[in-house]
């Protein structure tokens, strides 16, 4: 018997079809996405998480952007702006930027690694429900792709004034956005909860 599910957007009870092929199930009344079946979800998400962590390391340890005006050069990293906002007496702003572009994506990747690595090795990590809930709570606060648009706008704004030199970190950051998007797209939440339910 296929399980019953209530739509999270309109509360309608419906039966989830049994899925053997990757695909999406939508609510018959309001069109919300109820379930997405993915191919090799755990393996793919795990490998993308690992790639993401490597890129995150690169993005935070190399020069991000440099700004050349006449003889002066200003070299920055991803964290420079955050430090500068703090130094200018804007701790709230600095904290929000730090959370949305650095800490939240990092916490998400570490949590995913904590869940997926044991699952891949046929083990169940301790406290899986709490960690997985945490991942879902963080989701709306990860804003790296929005930051990328911010970079684009700033570069255009400053291009007339001075020369902008992109660094290794910028390219790693760009790749990281796609890897993170692919990471959340390949994740099948139902599968994780099923593994937890059938843990014994």
């Amino acid at each position: 018997m296929q399980p019953l599910i209530a739509c999270h957007d309109c509360d309608l009870i419906q039966r989830l079809p049994r899925m053997t092929e990757p695909g999406t199930v939508q609510c018959t009344r309001c069109g919300a996405v109820l379930h997405q079946k993915k191919r090799n979800s755990i393996e793919r998400t795990l490998s993308l998480t690992l790639a993401g962590l490597v890129l995150f390391g690169l993005a935070n340890s190399f020069p991000f952007l440099a700004f050349k005006l006449e003889a002066q050069v200003r070299q920055t990293t991803l964290l420079t702006g955050i430090q500068e906002l703090y130094a200018q007496g804007m701790p709230e702003l600095s904290l929000i930027v730090l959370l949305t572009t650095v800490l939240v994506p990092l916490a998400q990747m570490i949590s995913m690694l904590y869940i997926l690595l044991p699952l891949k090795l046929k083990k169940i990590p301790i406290g899986l429900p709490a960690v997985f809930r945490f991942v879902h709570k963080l989701q709306p606060w990860s804003m790296m792709e929005v930051f990328m648009v911010g970079i684009l706008v700033s570069v255009v704004k400053l291009a007339k004034m001075a020369k902008i030199v992109p660094g290794i970190a910028l390219f790693s950051f760009l790749a990281l956005i796609f890897v993170l998007a692919a990471m959340s797209a390949s994740l099948d939440s139902h599968l994780i909860w099923e593994k937890w339910e059938n843990r014994r």
């Binding site: 309109c10 509360d11 069109g31 005006l69 702003l93 429900p129 804003m143 929005v146 704004k157 939440s189």
Partner: protein, 210 residues
């Protein structure tokens, strides 16, 4: 049309918002946790309408200083020039970079207003228990959920400008309080969208008296 539709609410069931397991409700006043994942269960998000109203009103109030106060001050060779969100847009239009002007205008001015208008509209229609175009209203809600984060663009632009333009007396850029208020508007509207429960759109008289 809705008469034969079963919802979790009218069947005495609760859907876990975290793992989507359908659980049998033990009664209106019992505190329950999900047997599968241990999350606290709620039929609907707690105090959804009141919380969302409070956050929407707060966002509307903060929206005023966010647009009136400058978000940055550029100091170049002893001259200081402050910019608000709107003057930034106008600057880009004057320098002929209208695609960038459009991005900033949509992200910083259009999206926050649109989001607040949609949320107010949804709140009022839910309070009047309207059954008017429920599917479209649910879709409007999904739009507010997806689009809100893009308003942070301007805050990130300020962060990057502040980092890059710091050349002593030659040129430097400072963040100003308008940016703090604007950031607050974005965060508060995100929280408002999260606290609104779209299932309330479907909780009309007929579906509750099943």
């Amino acid at each position: 049309m809705n008469h034969d539709l079963k919802t979790a609410l009218n069947q005495g069931l609760i859907s876990c918002h975290s793992c989507h397991l359908l659980c049998r409700s033990a009664g209106p006043d019992t505190i329950m946790t999900c047997p599968r994942c241990g999350t606290r269960l709620h039929r609907r998000k707690p105090n959804s309408i009141r919380r969302t109203w409070a956050l929407v009103v707060a966002a509307v109030i903060f929206y005023i200083p966010a647009n009136v106060l400058p978000i940055t001050v550029v100091v170049s060779l002893g001259q200081a020039q402050s910019d608000t969100i709107m003057s930034g847009v106008i600057y880009f239009i004057h320098s002929g970079m209208w695609p960038i002007a459009l991005v900033i205008f949509v992200a910083s001015i259009f999206v926050p207003i649109l989001k607040l208008i949609i949320l107010i509209f949804l709140l009022i229609s839910v309070q009047r228990k309207s059954s008017w175009r429920q599917k479209d209203r649910t879709r409007l809600y999904r739009i507010t959920e997806v689009v809100g984060r893009w308003s942070m663009v301007d805050i990130f632009v300020v962060t990057i400008l502040v980092a890059l333009v710091k050349l002593g007396g030659l040129a430097s850029i400072q963040a100003e309080y308008g940016a703090v208020f604007f950031c607050a508007v974005v965060v508060i509207t995100l929280l408002a969208a999260m606290s609104f429960d779209p299932r309330l759109i479907w909780d009309t008289e007929e579906s509750l008296n099943e």
